[in-house]
Structures are given as structure tokens and as C-alpha cells.
């Protein structure tokens, strides 16, 4: 017995020793089941599609909360009613470089850029019979469009930014790329949009990029660059497309199943890819956190039949502890969590064209565009008679039309009116600070003055 036991033990030890060598490779080289090596990410039709979808996902990431917040909260329609100081800073136009929301948005946006750069770099050389030339063009066009959108947003948020156009494989990639000027940034947006428009399909898809989405963004780009004729021309192309029309009532834009005829580009969410923006708007009695609260002045405007008209649907009221509480209701799908993020709407194209026309002295046409938007909202037509009156009417119209979307702040900065309207007289504060953390990590970066 003794010797058999001894043999048993010896066999166990021997077995273990053998195991340790033969299983060594298995043990020390496990294969990840949840990730792919980065150089094998785009190898065929299916992975190319997934990589493109991944870019949408990153754009969704910054448009879900951070970008709309940076658009409406510095404006005067909404006040911050929660506990997080980073939001309070934005509300009070007192941004500092350590604002964590700024850092997060900046990071997400460059993640989207890198995703797009990966698609743009890998796709041209890819040959897979399952990937038709048409689809390849579409995917490339989408990547160009999304990169253009991000760089446009970066430009209007921070001014000129570093233009990274190739995928990152090591941390050295991008070294030496300094901030470009705002004009250079917008030039890059234009170049990407030109490519996108050429490559994208002519279709009425509203939650993926098509030619009209590229044109609509281009109209906005020209507006921001005060290139009035181009802005008018591109807005006209979108407005005249039979795929788009203003919908009535106003609430139809934000009514499920969404993707209304008015929508040129919106980011769709679903219960498994949830948009929890409603949670920031609903009072806690309705399950939200009530972080964003429409201010009385905005409530009055939206409820004014001559100003808001049926845009009063942006508000809702509930009774809490015996008194009425009004809250923002644009993002309202608390159960389904599928509120979209609105990026490009036809109403904006009308107002872009109205402004571009007014700037060119085409006052009648401009007024017609403005009144198209007003008519849809069920408010009386504007009678603005001078260019200045018209421009002010357009500005006011935007305030209510895009009350809770990513617009007001950028609009007032663009027109140079942020000082007059919001009291932000220090023009250095009309751009966001670059994240303090990134300045420390990136010797090529330079902070915006005043921060």
C-alpha cells in the first residue's frame, strides 16, 4: 500500500509538472473573448459595418447629455437645479478648466474622431466581395460626415482644435499636432462634408447620414462662417427636397416613433441603448432628478400663444405637495428611454436661410422662411420690416424653437450677442476652456486665453 500511495503522489506531482509545461502556452496566452486586437478590427464587410456603427455610438455618447447641456444651459432658458457644481458653472457662465463635463465631452468627441479615422484608413484598401462599392462609399461617407460633425462642434465650442486625421495606434501618434485656427478647423469640416456629400446615398434615412444631412450641416457651417450665399444655397437644397417637410403640430417632431419628416439627422436611442435624458428634466415625483428646470421667463415665452404657440408642448406640469410644478418635456420617454438626440432639423434650415437671406438684403424671402417656422408653431406671422428687426426676430425664434436643444449658446456666440443677451461680456469666455488634464498631458496644446 505504501508504495502504491507513493506512486500515486509521484504521479500527481509528475502530472502537475507536465501540466505546467504543456499547459504553459494556454495558461500564459489566453485569448480575449470580448475584445479584438486593434489591427484586426476592420477586415471584412461585417467588421467594417460594425466599426462605422461604433462611430455613431461615440457621437451618440456626447450628444446624449453633454452637448445639449453645453448648448442650452449657458443660455437663459434653463437653470440648473441639481447638486453637481460642474453643471452650475455652465449655468452661471463661470466655466473653469477643471470642469469635468468639459473634459468628458472633449474626450468623447476625440474618441469619435479616432473611430472615424479608423474607418477612413482601413476601408479604401479593403476587398471583400460582400462589400459592394455602393456600401463602401456609404460607410466612408458616413465616417466623413461624422468626423465633420465632431470637428464642427469642437470648433464652435473651443475655437480651433488639433486636427487629427489618421487612426491612433500608439500614444506617439498625433505628436506635434498643435491647435489649428478656427478657420482651418472649419476648412477641414468643409473638406469632409464635401467628401461625404459625394459618397453618401441620396435617401431619406434620418438616423444615419445621407446626402441631405451633409448639405444641412454644410448650410450651418456656412452660416457660422457668415458665407451667406452658400448657406442659403445649401439650406435651399435641403428645404426643396421632397423628403423633408415641417410637421404640425410642433410636438410631432418629438413623438414616437420619431424620425419625423422634419428630421434631417437625429440620433436614435432604444431601450437597450437607452437615452436617460428625461431623468434630468422630470421632477423627482415623476422619477426624475429635476436637474434642468425651465426658468419662469422661458415658461412664459413658451406658453405665450403669440410666441411659443404649440411649442408650449415642450413643457408639462404636475402637482407636487399641492402646488403646480412645470418641467421640460422634450425628453419624455421615461419608460421606453428612446428619446432621440436632435442634431439637424428642417426648421433650422429655414431659419439658416432666413438669416442668410436677411444678411443679403432679401428681406421678403427671409420673412417668408421665418414665418414658415412660425406658422408651424401656430403663432402669428412676423411683420419685421428691417434687416435688423428680422435678424432679431430670427434670434428670438431660435430661442423658443430650439429651447432645449444644443443651440442657444452657440447661436449667441456666433452672432456676437452673448454679451448683450446673456451678460457674458468677457469675450474670452465665449469659447470653452480646454480640459486642464489634457493640457498637462499634451505639450502641443495651448489654453484659450482667460482660463
Amino acid at each position: 500500500m505504501k508504495s502504491s500511495l507513493y506512486h500515486l503522489l509521484f504521479a500527481a506531482v509528475l502530472g502537475a509538472a507536465t501540466l505546467s509545461f504543456s499547459a504553459c502556452n494556454d495558461l500564459l496566452d489566453p485569448t480575449p473573448v470580448q475584445q479584438l486586437p486593434d489591427d484586426q478590427a476592420i477586415t471584412d464587410a461585417s467588421s467594417a459595418r460594425s466599426a462605422t456603427i461604433g462611430v455613431y455610438d461615440r457621437v451618440q455618447a456626447y450628444y446624449q447629455l453633454n452637448w445639449p447641456v453645453l448648448g442650452f444651459l449657458p443660455g437663459e432658458n434653463v437653470r440648473f437645479n441639481g447638486t453637481l457644481n460642474q453643471f452650475l458653472q455652465i449655468d452661471q457662465n463661470q466655466l473653469s478648466a477643471d470642469n469635468v463635463l468639459i473634459t468628458e465631452a472633449w474626450t468623447q468627441m476625440y474618441q469619435a474622431v479616432n473611430g472615424a479615422n479608423n474607418v477612413l484608413a482601413a476601408l479604401p484598401g479593403l476587398s471583400d466581395p460582400l462589400l459592394t462599392a455602393t456600401e463602401k462609399n456609404q460607410l466612408l461617407g458616413e465616417a466623413y460626415f461624422l468626423r465633420a460633425l465632431v470637428y464642427f462642434d469642437l470648433g464652435r465650442g473651443w475655437g480651433g482644435v488639433p486636427l487629427v486625421l489618421t487612426p491612433t495606434r500608439t500614444k506617439e501618434n498625433g505628436r506635434g499636432i498643435r491647435r489649428s485656427t478656427l478657420a482651418q478647423t472649419y476648412d477641414q469640416v468643409l473638406a469632409d462634408l464635401t467628401q461625404a456629400e459625394a459618397l453618401l446615398p441620396e435617401a431619406a434615412t434620418r438616423n444615419r447620414a445621407v446626402k441631405a444631412a451633409a448639405r444641412a450641416l454644410r448650410a450651418r457651417l456656412h452660416l457660422y462662417r457668415q458665407q451667406w450665399t452658400e448657406a442659403e444655397a445649401y439650406a435651399t437644397q435641403v428645404i426643396s427636397s421632397s423628403n423633408y417637410g415641417l410637421v404640425t403640430p410642433y410636438r410631432a417632431i418629438s413623438t414616437a416613433p420619431f424620425l419625423s419628416r422634419e428630421s434631417v439627422f437625429e440620433l436614435t436611442f432604444s431601450n437597450s441603448d437607452a437615452n436617460t435624458m428625461w431623468n434630468n428634466w422630470f421632477p423627482s415625483a415623476l422619477g426624475g432628478q429635476f436637474n434642468f428646470q425651465p426658468v419662469p421667463a422661458a415658461i412664459a415665452l413658451l406658453n405665450d400663444p403669440t410666441v411659443g404657440g404649440n411649442r408650449s408642448a415642450l413643457l408639462a406640469t404636475t402637482v407636487i405637495a399641492g402646488s403646480n410644478v412645470t418641467y421640460g418635456n422634450l425628453y419624455s420617454r421615461s419608460a421606453q428611454r428612446d428619446d432621440p438626440s436632435y442634431v439637424l432639423r428642417l426648421a433650422e434650415q429655414y431659419l439658416i436661410r432666413a438669416e442668410a437671406r436677411a444678411k443679403q438684403g432679401k428681406l421678403t424671402d427671409a420673412l417668408a422662411d421665418l414665418n414658415a417656422v412660425r406658422a408651424r408653431a401656430g403663432v402669428p406671422a412676423s411683420t419685421a420690416a428691417t434687416a435688423d428687426a428680422l435678424l432679431l426676430a430670427i434670434e428670438d425664434e431660435r430661442r423658443v424653437e430650439f429651447a432645449f436643444e444644443a443651440d442657444r449658446w452657440f447661436d449667441l456666440v456666433r452672432t456676437g450677442r452673448a454679451g448683450a443677451v446673456l451678460g457674458v461680456t468677457d469675450q474670452r469666455r465665449w469659447v470653452f476652456p480646454l480640459p486642464f488634464n489634457d493640457l498637462v498631458a499634451d505639450p502641443d496644446l495651448e489654453q484659450n486665453p482667460g482660463y
Partner: protein, 1008 residues
Amino acid sequence: MKSSTLLAVPAVVAGLAPASFAQTAASAVTGTIVDATDRSPLPGVTVVVKGTTVGASTGPDGSFSLTLPPGSTTLTISAVGYESQTVAATGGPINVALKADVKQLSEVVVTGYSEQNRKTLTSAISSVKGDALKDIPAASPDQLLQGKAPGVQVSANSGVPGGGVFIRIRGSNSVNASNDPLYVVDGVFINNTNLIATGLGNQVSSNPLADINPQDIESIEILKDANATAIYGSRGANGVVLITTKRGKAGDKTRITFNTYHGWSKAPKQYELVSGPELAQLENERFLNDGGNPAQLPYRSVASGGRGLPEEQQTYDRLSDVFRTAQTQSYELSAAGGSAKTQFYVGGGYFRQESIARPTNFDRFSLRVNLDNSVTDRLRIGTSTALTRTHRNVSSNDNNPVGVINSALFPRTNLPIYNPDGTYAKYGSFDNHQALIDNLNNDAVGSRVISNVYGQYQFGKHLTLRSSWSIDFNDMYENNFNNTLILAGQPRGTATSFLSRDITLLNEQTLNYSVDFGENHSLQALVGNTIQKNTFQRTSLSGQQFPSNDLTSIASAATQTGSSSRSQAGLLSFFGKATYSFKQRYTADVSLRADASSRFGADNRWGYFPAVGLGWRLSEEEFIKNLNVFQELKLRGSVGKTGNQAGISDFAARGLVQGGANYLDLPGTTPLQLANPNLSWESTRQWNVGLDAAVLQSRLLLELNYYDKYTSGLLLNVPVPRKTGFASVVENYGAVSNKGFEVQLTANWLPSASAVQWSTTFNVARNVNRIEKLAAPITSGSRDIFRLEEGAPLYSFWLYHQTGVNSETGDAQYQDVNGDGQLSVADRKLVGNAWPDYFGGVTNSVTYKGLDFGFTLNFEQGAKIMNMNRFFLVHGGTQSNIGYLREQLDRWQKPGDQTDIPRLTTNPASNNYGGVVQNLSDRYLEDGSFLRLRTLSLGYTVPKEVAAKAHLNSLRLYVQATNLLTITPYSGIDPEVNSQSGVANTKNIDWATVPQPRTFQVGITVGL
């Protein structure tokens, strides 16, 4: 009563010489030997007639009898683990109580893969006996070490039972990799990863060590220096905690022990909030300070459209609903014993502890079987197996606005708890605390098997081969249902379910060679290998929209989504060590371990971790002996290198793209991390010098250590320019050092023969942590409150430094660090850190006959705490949905006021509570020093005769108070707090956290 076996035989053969028989009147002596502490009978005690070889050993009932040779009247009584005693045999029965041997210096300590006599030890190892731990009403053994071992900093993150514990052995070596020590239970490297996936306000939700029943523990050894830990190589850098559980002893009568206690706990202190009228006054004042129209005060009469006058406001107390008198129960039944061939220990326990904050509970069933069998003279097999089932009813606090404490603490005190219609009223981001208490339904059930089987074969006299196979199987099954009455369940009910599984398989061979050459030389050598594989997997499900609040299973949900994840890592190691000792006077140790980890690229996979240690017992040298001062005097020194790879992801070295970046319900991929094929081990070089001394007949013992650790090649998330699309990459970059000393002093105040026994152990340690090298500063924690900078310690707070409040304007003034005349982020600076300057503890014990009295103290001096409760509740009006602490009443009101609380205002330009400063003022950073009476106990062991009448072997009753007294300048509820334990590189944030309870308990230990 039976005569001794081992000693009696030679006694007859050799000791009782025929000549003795010739003399007259050899007298018989009988007696009983018991344990001095619990009065239990001690079997196997050697009783020898002094100056002869005549002797006996005690039987299972502690009794002996022998025949006293004529002329001899003195007996020497000795037993392993006890102090020897000499007594006079005066005719009657001899009853002796033996005291446990507290002379640490002569004990055997468990070291990595072997045991060593403390005399020849060259390493820094602290030992804590299980007896010192067993009555403390805490769920996990690591928490029991608080204040017991020098250089081991232990603090509970919160008062949640079974919750996380912050433990650091000689400071923090690492930034991104783990800083937790390695835990080895009976040779099994156990998982120490929290498996609870339910988010609980950034608090580590569970402590996996709570799966181990403290009552099963025989001893805990803490390996601190490199010489002790290098044998654990890449796992050893943060120190190693070896837990040895109880085993049966050969020749022992089966001893059955029943141990139980019951405790009642309360919060030692409560938050002090303003009353409703005070809140209204503050709000009105804030309104006026902001330039409001005095006719439009928010709190004016209802008739004029206001919310009622201040004095009309009600005050609602929410906190009393949350905090309760919580109960703790513990029951433990064990049996230990064995024959010459087979020894066993079996134990079963049930422990239940309520949190003092509703509705959290923890309970644990545990079973343990430890078996050893000598199959032949040479072959020994055995097992150590523990099964545990834990159940936690978890709830969120800390950094979660819908946490229970948050929802009671933060809402304004003048707002009613219920709406007029009787429904739960909710304000701002907060839930209703009572709704949470009534409806929270978060269950986490853990199942744990830690098991090891071994076979050990002895070749010849000196060589032993041991092979052991172990598994640590840890499973956590969570089911959460949020009904529509709480915010998390909006709008129609939500539920999540997680099944998480963490499995470590370990195989290990060691070949041990031990030999004494002649009298002077001894050599102990060991070689071995281990193969370790760890897999982690998690399946999660969630459901939204439930038909009713009574249908709580995800099967009932309208929308159901699921996910799963899996990851694995392997570690292959070879190791060896040797100890040579000359006359037990000079000792030298060497060890080496080679580890290969799957987490690194093929070229950087192997790490080599050597160590050497030297010991010199001066007390064995004639020139010291001649001084006649030292019973022990030893110098020790060691140097070595250990490694770390814990805490980084299993595939950290690879450039990866991940799935799950979906859009339109189509699958998407997105870049996850940058590759770093050069990634390799983080390594820690440590040297240690130490001194052990015993003086005054070993009544005063001293242990000193000084160490210096330098960790380089940190596994660091090095920030990269974000324009690359990444925020950081894991690199071996940077260095951290820890230097410090440890002192332990043990005093036995009275001679060992006196009836009263009184001993005191005092320990104190200092650790200085410093980031030696860093690519760029890194911020961490909520609001980037912490910042890592070269030259500063980890856990440094990065805030604006308030210099005062202008007594004319009432506005806060901050230090303009860069002197540019304006306040910007560049004026934030490191204003302190969460490290104590000194920490330690005192253990005191007094026994007299059956009475025992003891207390333990522990202290930390100089650590800072960021009090987020004040951050939020002293907000000057900027938080429209949050009430105020009474401290806000001390605000500046009129010119001339001297205070550090600025005037109430929401105006950002003042930076009082918002603006650029965002309230990130060091006004809320406090001194967290404390001295705490951790336990105070009084016990009585019933005399054996009395116990025997009740047919019991032994009986002890005791009462104990825990956390009875805390002396601290800290204004919060509890200075032992770490609310953001789940967030890397943060410590000492106080944020709506459950405090350490004050507990009174009664207990009884019965020997059957």
C-alpha cells in the same frame, strides 16, 4: 486518571533506580492542570519532578498522578504554548493554571511555505493569535487586525456589515495596480475581488474576506518585508496575510466548544441639521444678499404669496427613521480532536449583523472541516475545506442621491416627508428615505468554497515532498427589484440580476529539506512551483416595465436585456528558499521566485524576485550575556524585490477594440485601449532593518523595524493627449516610495507567578509615502478632488485654499497661488493628504483568577478627511434642494463678523460657494486624527468545579463594548470613513456614509 505514557516509561526504566526503591516513603502526588485564561483542562502537559527524569503527563481531563521520589518536592510543569511553572508538592492535590506563553520571541511563526522559530527569523513578520480576535463583533478577519500589528493600517470603509475594509501594509506602493495584500488561507491564495455588481454609491460593496469565519482562525501572520514576501514573488509586494485555521491535535480528547454572543449597536453621533424656521431665515437672508426684493422674500406670509413666515415652518426629522439599534448575533459550534493517526477540526457558525442604517443586513453560514491523516509513517494527507454562504440585503449610500442616508440627510428639513395624499414626498434629486427603507429589495447571495487537499511524503529523515491542489470558488448571485415607489424603479419598475463567478485554481509542489549538521548548523531549504489560473465571469440581466409591484422577476418585464463577460489570467511560478543557521546565533536566508504572467507580452512575461535576510542574535554572544540585561537581543536585516501585476486588466498590454458600441440596435465596435507590448512587472525593492529585544526577565519585549520601499515601473494609466482618442495608456512609468518605522512594545507588568496578570502591548508606526516619478499629474475622484503629483504623497487633496472670510464684505478669500490676481484652476493646490503621520494601537489585558479585563485602543494622527456632507450642507444657498447643517448658522452676516463661513449667496463672482471654486474649498477638509477605545471587555470564567456541576468542561461569560469612546477633532460622525472606496486613488472622503457603530455585547463560551 491515567499515568503518563511517554515520560512515565523512561521514568520507570531509568529514573527510578533500584537504589531509590530502597529508600523509604515514596509519596503519590495528584493534581490538575488548567488553562489560566479559560480554566479549561489541559491534556498532554508534562509534569516532571525537578532534578529527576520522573514525570507524567496529564490526561484529557487535565489530571495527572505520579510518585514523588523521596527528597524531591518540586515539580516542573510545562506545555507547548504555555509558560512553564515550578510548584512545590506539599502533600495535597496540586492545581495549577498555566498561562499562555506571551514571550513571542520563542514562538514558531508561519512563514511562506514553511515554519520558522522566531529566534532565527530575519524577516519582519507580525503574528496575531485567533484568541485575540474572536470576540470582536465584525464580519471579516481583516477588520479585526485594527491596531494589532505595527505598520498595518486597517480601517473600515464604512459601518456597513460585511462591507469593504481599507488595509495597507507599510503604505501604498502602487497607483493603478492593487495595493491590497495577498491573503493566503491554509495555503490557498484567495480571491479578494468584490463581486457585487450592484452600484452602491462608489463604495466597495462587499468584502470577500467576510466569507471567512473569524472564529475558525488559529493565527494570522502578516509578512511585511521583502525577505518574507519575496517567496510570493509577484503577489507579495503589498505584503502577505497568512491565515491559519484551527486543526485538531494528536492525542487530544475531542473538545466541543459552543460560543455565542449578542450585540446591540447604535450610531455614536448624529448629524446636526437646522430647524425649519432656521432654514427659512437662511433662505431669506440668501435672497436679500443676492439682491432680491425685500417684498418678495421666499419665506413670507402665505397670504402674500410666500411659503409662510420662517416661524411657521415645520421641522421634519428624517434621520431617526434611518438609524436604528441594530442587532448582531453569532453562534459557533466546533469540535476538535484526534488520534495519533487522524486529527480533525469541524466547525459550524452562523453570524447575523444588522446595519445601524436601515435596511441593510448581513448574514453568514459557515462550515469548516480540517482533516489530517497519517496514512503511513511517511505519507500524510489532509484537507482544509471551508464552505460559506453569505446573504446581504444591500442598499446604497455614499455618493448616490437616491441613497438611504442621502435621502434623509440632504432634503430640506422644513419639507414634509409625505404628500398631503399620504404618498412619499420627494425633492430635487433625492428619493424619499422612507420609501427606500420600505421598498428597497436588493439581495446578494454569495457562495464560497475555499478548499485545499494535500499529500505530503517524507523521504528519509530530511526531505519532504508536498503537493497541494486548491480551489477558491466564489459566486455571487444578485437580484434587485425596484418598484414604482422609489426613483430607481421609474416609471414602471426596473430589475437587474447578476451572476458573478470568480474561480482560482491552484496547484503547488514543494520539496522541503531540513537538516541539522551536528549541534551548530541547521539548514532548511525548499524548492517549489505553482500553477495558477483565474477566471472571472459575469452574466447580467435587466428588465424594465413590470405589470405590477408584486411581480418582481425579470421574466415579468416587458423589456428584457442581457449581457455576459468573461476574462482569464494565468500565472506560472518557480521558487526556492534556504535558511542557514549557526548555533541559532547567526542566520541567513535567501529566496528567489520566478513568475510568468499572461497579462504581459511574451518578451516581458517573466519576473524574478530575489531576497536575502541576515540575523544575528547578540544575546547568544558572551559579551552580551555577561551584561546580564538581555534575555534576547537580535539584529535583523533584509533586502529584496517583489512584484505586482494585480489590479490591471487581464489584457492590459494589448491594443484592443471592443464590441458593444451599438447603434440602431446594430453591433458596433470602438477602440478600447492602446497597445503597450513592453508592459511588464511593477517591482518593489525593499530593505528592512530590525531589532528584537527582551529585558527584565523577558517581561519587557521590544520589536523595532525600519524599512524603505521603492516601487518602480509603476503600472500606471499614463495620461495621453486626448486628441488621440484615448485618455491614457497602461505603462510601466513612475515610482512611489514608502519609508517608515514600526515599534512594538510588550510589557508584562507583574511577575509571572503573581495571581494578577497584567500585560500591555503598544504599537506605533509611521509611513511616509511619496510619488517619486510621474509623467504628468493625474486627477482622480469625484470633482477631481485628488491629484497625483510628483513629490507629493498619494491621496493628496487638490483644492482651493481659503485664507479667510473678509470681515467687511463677508466673501471668502482664497490663496492666489500663481499670483496672477485672478482665481482660476491654477490656484488649486495640494492642501493635505489622507495619510496619518502615526498610527497604532494598544492592547491591554488583566487577569485575576477567573476574571479577565481587557481593552484595545487604536489611533491615527494627522490624516485629513474631506467632509462632503459639509460641502453639500453648508452651501450658502447654491443648492436649492438641499438643507443646511447647523454650521451654516455661523455665516458672516454683517461687517465686523469674524468667521470662516462666508456670507450666503449664489452669486458666482463671490466664489463663496460656487463660481470658479465650485465649493472645492479646503474649508471642508478636516483633521481626521482619532484615538478610539475600540474594545473594552470584562469576562468571568466559572471555576471548573462549578462548571462541572452543570456537566460542562468550562464556561466563560463576558460583556464587551466596542467603539465606546472616540476622541477626535473631526466634526463628522466618524473619522474612520472612506466613502469612495470603489474609486481608485482616493481615500478619506466622508459622504453620507454609515458610521462605525457603538456596540454593547454579551457572550458566553461553553466547553462541553
